[in-house]
């Protein structure tokens, strides 16, 4: 049965909303397949505004892979802004895909990619606008399977009631596998309805179906046990790892939006995973092991992507791009290839060493040496040891002054506030560091025309990291330290004017902390926030701390218990049944090492430090060097 486009109904609303172009689709390289040509249909959602969601690599890759699959189609949907939401409600227009403007409820699977927990309320808006019951238990056979992925899906417990299923890790192969399970089940005439489909997915061990697991609690509120409530459902669900990135060179046909988006460039992941071992970094822990894309594939993907998109910027993405074993060759090869073409290259990397500056110099050959970013993360040497970010003050100052001496005028330094064991002086150390950087920079350049911007993020303990047991700092403490830091910077007559300071207040981090380490009981808070109008929580102009706190109180949830409480070693954590491959004992030991100031080397270069990922997942580190060069330049 053909599903009709709702575009004509949407079209009448578009003249009344801001930036209507974001809702009309029609991007270059987007795909609209005939509805009846497919028997498995995915709606892929990035639960934020189009301008943020469109550049998301995860959604773009799955969109392309699924559409390449015969008999499968995939379309995209994004969070609509409140102005359109109000009009859609008034006119009864459902949540739609931007590709063919089909109603989301008509699809078999609604896949939602969560980079951050702050998209949870937007998912509820989309479900509600789609006419899909918010609670999974209320859904019928005509509703799509609501499936979460992305980094936040490594603890989907706070949204467990709203999800039918969740997938951990790389999506490429599992999305195809899920499509096949759905196809088979539909071809057989949907035996056993929705429940059997979910059973088939759960049995594989690669898809988490929350309703097949019961959570029991101790009287004091801690979790007693998480156990399957059916036979044939595994006790633990494992993450997925794509081992050979050269076999998956996506995106091949990059989506080129008409609307303005947050990243206007063609991005290539040059590797996945990171083994630097920064203890606060969830991404580094859950994406192990390191898997590099080869220099030749990178070269081919960049060439193809620039040609297909017309973008004039190329971004080489990863968690620490300067760590690619052949990054020097990659940088030089691309800089040679695109010299004089007005195609710029960017390398979001935060390594604090001279090599990083060499790379940055290569990438800015003909351009302006404007800003360079380093991330020492901790303000004092002691703090950096706790988080395992092994940078000495001497290293940092030497690196930054080298950058100034080579023509870079502006250096940005990233830090976190609220780290475990942090004291006031650790944060004030950031001011000392910044002043020393400016002092040394002025000496070496003989100029006062240099700047340093200090940018601070609030630390939130994340699941599957050594800090998963840590107490989160309360927002009063964070705000007090940030204020002291600000005063120290602003009050400095000699250097204050050369130092910029960017920070946010500590309260949003508390909500993020609640959602990051929450369990199923937190779902009631999310729902209450959404019901009282909570939307776009990642946007400071929409976020309301008061709304979250009121909702928590209404739901009987003690926010402090979830955030500022330190956990014991043997406490069952809400995500313990979800396997990111990390050995729990190793994580605990690393947490203890952190408290005693011990360091861990990077296993990319040094022997294995037993985090447990490779043996339990059957994976291994995939790095070069291959010794090959970029493909020869094709003359455009």
């Amino acid at each position: 049965m053909p599903v009709e486009s709702i575009f004509h109904r949407l079209e009448a609303l578009l003249p009344k909303v801001q930036k209507p172009i974001q809702y009309v689709g029609g991007e270059l390289n987007s795909t609209v397949k005939d509805w009846d040509s497919a028997d498995v249909r995915w709606a892929l959602m990035y639960p934020d505004a189009y301008e943020v969601g469109l550049p998301n690599q995860g959604v773009a890759i799955l969109y392309e892979i699924l559409n390449e699959l015969p008999g499968t189609l995939a379309e995209r949907t994004y969070a609509v802004w409140p102005d359109l939401e109000a009009l859609m409600r008034a006119e009864g227009v459902p949540q739609f895909t931007v590709d063919a403007h089909r109603p989301v409820r008509a699809f078999d699977v609604l896949g939602v990619s969560f980079s951050t927990e702050l998209g949870y309320t937007n998912m509820l808006t989309a479900l509600d606008l789609a006419g899909i019951p918010l609670t999974a238990a209320d859904r019928g056979d005509d509703d799509p399977i609501v499936l979460a992925g992305g980094h936040a899906a490594f603890n989907p417990e706070p949204i467990a009631d709203f999800l039918d299923a969740a997938v951990l890790g790389d999506g490429e192969q599992i999305a195809i596998a899920i499509s096949e399970v759905v196809r088979e089940w539909k071809a057989e005439g949907r035996p056993g309805g929705r429940d059997e489909l979910l059973m088939r997915l759960a049995e594989s061990g690669g898809v988490y179906v929350p309703k097949f697991y019961d959570v029991d609690y101790h009287p004091d509120g801690r979790i007693k046990r998480v156990a399957p409530n059916r036979t044939d459902v595994p006790w633990r669900v494992h993450k997925h790892t794509v081992m050979d990135l050269d076999e998956w060179p996506y995106p091949k046909k990059p989506l080129v939006p008409l609307a303005e988006t947050v990243h206007e460039r063609f991005s290539v992941e040059i590797f996945r995973g990171c083994t630097r071992g920064c203890r606060f970094c969830q991404a580094g822990m859950i994406t192990r092991p390191v898997r590099e894309r080869s220099i030749t594939t990178i070269g081919a993907m960049v060439e193809n992507g620039v040609k297909e998109s017309g973008f004039n910027e190329v971004g080489l993405l990863s968690l620490s791009s300067a760590d690619h074993s052949e990054i020097g060759e990659v940088a030089k090869g691309l800089a040679d290839r695109y010299e004089g073409t007005n195609t710029s290259l960017s390398l979001p990397s935060t390594r604090v060493d001279a090599f990083n500056i060499d790379l940055a110099n290569e990438f800015s050959r003909n351009g302006r040496r404007s800003g360079l970013t380093f991330a020492p993360e901790g303000g004092s040497e002691r703090m950096r040891k706790v988080i395992n970010k092994m940078v000495t003050e001497e290293d940092l100052i030497r690196t930054v002054t080298t950058a100034y001496s080579q023509g870079w005028r502006q250096v940005k330094l990233y830090f976190m506030c609220g780290l475990p064991t942090e004291q006031d002086e650790d944060v004030l150390g950031i001011a000392d560091l910044a002043k020393k950087v400016i002092k040394a920079g002025r000496e070496i350049t003989g100029s006062r025309d240099i700047r340093c911007t200090v940018s601070i993020g609030g630390f939130v303990p994340k699941p599957h990291t050594p800090f998963q047991w840590a107490a989160q700092a309360d927002h009063e403490t964070v705000d007090r330290r940030l204020k002291a830091l600000r005063d120290s910077l602003r009050g400095d007559k000699q250097y204050g004017k050369a130092i910029g300071f960017r920070y946010h207040d500590g309260r949003p981090s508390i909500v993020e902390g609640l959602l990051s380490r929450g369990d199923r009981r937190v779902g009631a808070v999310i729902r209450a926030v959404w019901e009282s109008g909570g939307r776009f929580d990642g946007w400071s102009e929409h976020f309301s701390y008061e709304r979250w706190m009121a909702a928590a109180e209404q739901a009987g949830v003690d926010v402090d218990w979830y955030t500022t409480r330190e956990r014991e070693e043997n406490e069952v954590l809400p995500w313990d049944h979800l396997d990111a491959g990390l050995d729990r004992e190793w994580l605990w030991q690393d947490w203890q090492e952190a408290l005693s100031g011990g360091e861990v080397e990077d296993c990319r270069w040094t022997p294995c430090y037993d985090c447990g990922v490779c043996p339990t997942m059957g994976t291994e580190i995939q790095i070069g060097p291959t010794g090959r060069k970029l493909l020869p330049l094709t003359v455009v």
Partner: protein
């Protein structure tokens, strides 16, 4: 430096592109098509593409114009097909000519607009149009970035005709009946746009369409004073370049 003048359309759902959206799309399309566009000098070089009189967001157009500087001479027809292929469907290249003497913007004196009003009453529209044309001035107010601005919407309107047709966008197949306003409007400062004329119709005769209008610019160009007709602004370029009398490169300043 050779300069090319391009007429393009924004159609259907792509009428919701803003001017900035279009300029990004064109820059990328030029790169994809491999057109040797010239760049400005300096730290952040920009492609030399300039736009004349862009239609507002939400308004479709069959007659948008841009001018493009290229570093090596190009065959206009090849640029036309290459650029059209590289732009998303809905941004369609209709005509490319090599620029002759004179600024393009100066030639865009008037616009011919079609305004479709689904569900509007034909009789009321007719009465409103007559009242509007009979008035010597019709002061309207529009909210601009600098706040509300008051100006006369009547003087710029050279022609205003009411007819009937179907609403094309609801579905290409079965359109609903709608009232069609055709208006020829002179470009002035401040610009009088079709929605300003609609505001005027509401003021003079309380005529208010039930749903947002669908507006399309059909043409823009010089006004032939004797016939009152609208000429193709690129004809002048065609005349000079056909005769092989194109001026030396870089002599003209774009309007």
């Amino acid at each position: 430096m050779q300069r090319l003048r391009v007429r393009y359309a924004k159609r259907g759902r792509l009428r919701f592109t803003s001017h900035r959206d279009i300029s990004r799309a064109v820059e990328r399309a030029v790169r994809r098509a491999g057109i040797p566009v010239a760049y400005s000098a300096g730290f952040s070089p920009h492609p030399k593409i300039s736009y004349a009189g862009a239609a507002p967001t939400g308004v479709a157009s069959e007659a948008e114009y841009l001018e493009l500087g290229v570093t090596t001479p190009c065959v206009p027809d090849e640029v036309k097909s290459g650029l059209d292929r590289s732009l998303p469907p809905g941004l369609d290249v209709l005509d490319v000519v090599e620029a002759g003497p004179g600024g393009l913007a100066d030639r865009l004196e008037v616009s011919d607009w079609e305004v479709r009003l689904p569900g509007a009453d034909r009789e009321l529209a007719q009465v409103a149009a007559e009242k509007f044309l009979a008035a010597s001035t019709v002061d309207v107010e529009r909210l601009t970035k600098k706040g509300p601005r008051r100006f006369d919407a009547r003087e710029a309107v050279l022609r205003l005709v009411v007819s009937e047709g179907t609403d094309r966008t609801a579905a290409q197949v079965h359109g609903r009946p709608c009232v069609i306003l055709r208006m020829v409007v002179r470009h002035m400062t401040p610009a009088v746009r079709p929605d300003d004329v609609l505001t005027g119709l509401r003021l003079v005769a309380d005529f208010a369409p039930p749903v947002p209008p669908e507006v399309t610019r059909l043409a823009q160009g010089p006004l032939d004073a004797s016939t009152g007709a609208l000429a193709d602004p690129l004809d002048l370029d065609r005349d000079t370049t056909r005769g092989g009398e194109a001026g030396p490169a870089g002599e003209h300043v774009a309007g």
